[in-house]
């Protein structure tokens, strides 16, 4: 790929890059020491945003009443429903199916395929396009212990340690034991994993892994998985309705999940979908920009599923723990928050301060790595300040070609190379400037090993479920969990739907919730939820108000 010589870095930044170039030969091949367990705890407590008390408050209503959640999420959970004033005839059903899947990312698609295999009718509805999801953006890879020196048991240890031993053990066990099955499933569908000629998977490390078990498809791993699943869902003739988010769940008279109220984003009509089992696969909440962080998340990540499932009474867990990816773009401002895949560090690029010195091992777990970068910038004041006032640290990407040979970045990181090249930065020659970006919601609905929530016939999978990763998720375990639990929930919901006796639909839960909102005095009058899309004007970032 040819990249214009015109360089986007300012002359001041250019000067600082010289220091990086000066120290590079002495850093090559030297492994920076990893932190001790005590050092890790110390940096987390002092610098990780999860420990910033003003970012959280106890939620005032619902099943998790009193639990600490991010302020921005509490605002939505405590807001009135967007359909509070809408007249709905619950006898008038627009779609009547066995399994309703809400969300068209990787988890929803996997669930759709497995539910369909049980011989039942499946409807998948999604807010934006089918495949518009964080799955599509996951570049780094997918973990599975399928090599001779590895095993699900070692993978289990890595997951638990990464999550600071707070994970729900049974879910972790499902995750690691199903992992090879998921990779095989994808291989059989024709997913093009990076392989050696004899079929051996080319696997690398990720932050917190003790074995190289990260499977990749260049740096389009998530996109390759998503487009394969989407193609397969279409081939199987599964009904998919786009631009139609679920804005509330429907329960039956017994309080079991029984469908959803859909909203056609274009005609602004409400439609009713009745189903015997319902799967929430709506993803996370990065677009709520907790603590004003930039985010790497998809446009649609606005916590819709959390809001509607919570109103229906499903219990949440770990909502006070958010993952900040250590390496979001801090420069240029056009791509602020954009994910710089962990694969860049996996291949050997290291973070450096303003003096061109490394200050943390490049493969600590994401929370520790992020906290260390925040400490370097805000605590030690050793960051690099951009013209817009953003502070970040260098990520020395040119090291990769020095380690593996020229051309390796172009081959292994084409998406990354292209994204920076669009702004005239050649990551083969110059480092990137990075700062942690809001990346992943560790928490979500409490689920069992088949994705069942605390509400009968309601399932939650993917980022809107919680417990698998505890308080911190390792790279490559999210693409894995959406498929492991997507398949499990799809299978279970498909079979279960055959036994469910349909009863009258009800929105009583919503009326009860609304009363609670009003009684708590917490109703935020100028807001309803779910919000569906974030509102951007880009004025603040430009210094305009």
């Amino acid at each position: 790929m040819s990249i214009p010589v015109r360089v986007m870095y300012t002359p001041q930044m250019r000067e600082l890059i010289k220091k990086v170039e000066e120290t590079r030969p002495s850093r090559l091949g030297i492994d920076f020491p990893r932190m001790t367990p005590e050092e890790r705890q110390d940096v987390l407590k002092k610098f990780h945003p999860d420990f910033i008390e003003s970012g959280f408050r106890p939620v005032k209503i619902g099943v998790n009443k009193g639990d600490r959640v991010p302020q921005e999420l509490a605002d939505l959970l405590e807001a009135p429903s967007m359909i509070r004033n809408v007249e709905l005839d619950l006898e008038k059903i627009n779609y009547d199916v066995d399994v309703l899947i809400i969300g068209g990312g990787g988890a929803g698609a996997a669930a759709a395929l497995l539910a369909r295999e049980q011989g039942v009718e499946v409807l998948l509805v999604t807010k934006l396009r089918f495949g518009d999801a964080n799955t599509m953006m996951a570049q780094g890879g997918i973990q599975a212990a399928d090599k001779g020196n590895d095993s699900p048991l070692i993978h289990y240890l890595d997951v638990m340690g990464g999550g600071h031993f707070t994970n729900i053990p049974a879910l972790v066990s499902n995750l690691v034991n199903d992992a090879p099955l998921v990779i095989k499933w994808l291989e059989d569908m024709g997913t093009m994993f990076d392989k050696k000629e004899d079929g051996t998977m080319i696997t690398i490390h990720g932050g917190g892994t003790s074995r190289k078990r990260m499977h990749t498809a260049r740096d389009y791993t998530g996109a390759e998985i998503m487009r394969t699943l989407r193609d397969e869902v279409m081939n199987r003739g599964i009904n998919v309705i786009e631009f139609s988010p679920a804005v509330e769940l429907l329960l039956d008279e017994d309080g079991k999940a029984a469908g959803a109220v859909l909203y056609n984003l274009e005609t602004e009509q409400y439609l009713l979908a009745r189903a015997k089992t319902v799967i929430l696969a709506t993803g996370g909440s990065g677009r709520l920009h907790y603590q004003n962080f930039p985010t790497s998340n998809h446009y649609g990540a606005t916590a819709d599923g959390l809001v509607i499932g919570y109103r229906a009474g499903a219990k949440l867990i770990f909502m006070d723990t958010i993952q900040y990816h250590p390496t979001g773009a801090a420069y240029p401002p056009q791509i602020l928050g954009l994910l710089v895949t962990e694969k860049v560090r996996g291949l050997g690029a290291t973070p450096l301060n303003i003096k061109g010195e490394q200050f943390v091992h490049h493969l600590e777990t994401r929370d520790v790595e992020s906290a260390a970068i925040i400490r370097e910038c805000n605590g030690r004041k050793m960051g690099i300040t951009t013209p817009t006032g953003m502070v970040g640290v260098w990520l020395d990407s040119p090291l990769i070609d020095l380690i593996y040979g020229e051309g390796y970045i172009e081959k292994q990181l084409p998406a990354m190379l292209r994204q920076f090249a669009r702004f005239d930065i050649d990551i083969r020659k110059d480092p990137m400037l990075i700062y942690p970006t809001l990346h992943y919601q560790n928490g979500g609905f409490l689920i069992d090993e088949y994705g069942c929530t605390s509400i009968e016939n309601l399932y939650a999978i993917g980022e809107n479920s919680g417990g698998i990763h505890g308080r911190n998720r390792l790279m490559g375990n999210s693409l894995l969990d959406i498929l492991v639990f997507g398949r499990r929930a799809g299978y279970h919901a498909g079979l279960k739907s055959k036994e469910v006796k349909q009863k009258k639909l009800s929105l009583q839960h919503l009326y009860n919730y609304q009363r609670e909102v009003e009684q708590s005095g917490s109703a935020i009058v100028d807001r309803v939820s779910p919000v569906l899309v974030p509102h951007y004007t880009h004025r603040e970032a430009l210094g305009l108000f």
Binding site: G199, R218, Y220, T228, H298
Partner: protein, 233 residues
Amino acid sequence: MSALEMVDIYIMGKKYMVPASLTIMNAMEFAGYELKRGCGCRAGFCGACATVYRIAGHYELKVGLACQTRVEHEMYLAQIPFFPALKAFYDIEDLEPKASSISRYYPEIYRCIGCNSCTKVCPQDLNVMQYIAHAQRGDLYRCASESFDCIMCGLCASRCPAHIVQYYVGILARRLYGRHILAKSIHLQQRVDEVIEGKYTAGLEALMAAGLEELKAAYNNRDIETEPKLCLG
């Protein structure tokens, strides 16, 4: 902060003044749009925001992803958020990895007139016409490999005088290649067999039952696979 450099752009013919530093997507939001269609990952992966534009006074139509392309002065733009393309339905397992498996579903690939419009329009800089040529010849490896970075935005198909839907040809070729030509992973199959036999069930149960201190000790003492040797040249 010094005064922002502003430019005039025309969104579907309507004029707006926006900061020159913004991407097309951010400029639309700056102008007051709340995007539903035409906006997805905002990072160049999803292909939702294919945009066609022209600069005043120039006849040439240009294209780009709205999230990845900066605005220019007197840019006239419209988004193509959906393209009504024909997608074939197939069972990948039953197909053989050869040209006829593609032409059976997409016979129009042989109607290519070599105009290269698809290549010129690709926001990913793929050589689209070339990968279609590989499909015509049944060279699935090259077709799969050269179409790999496709984000299925639909711009190629929108410009094709032969009505080829290049991105669907690409994914069929990649799945055929991935399913039938790329060597199967033997170590993966072995591990799958072990999992199905229940080889790890007892071990996992023991780990689940382990006390916190025991687990922590095992974690902190686990050996870590080393980095590859450096080739410093």
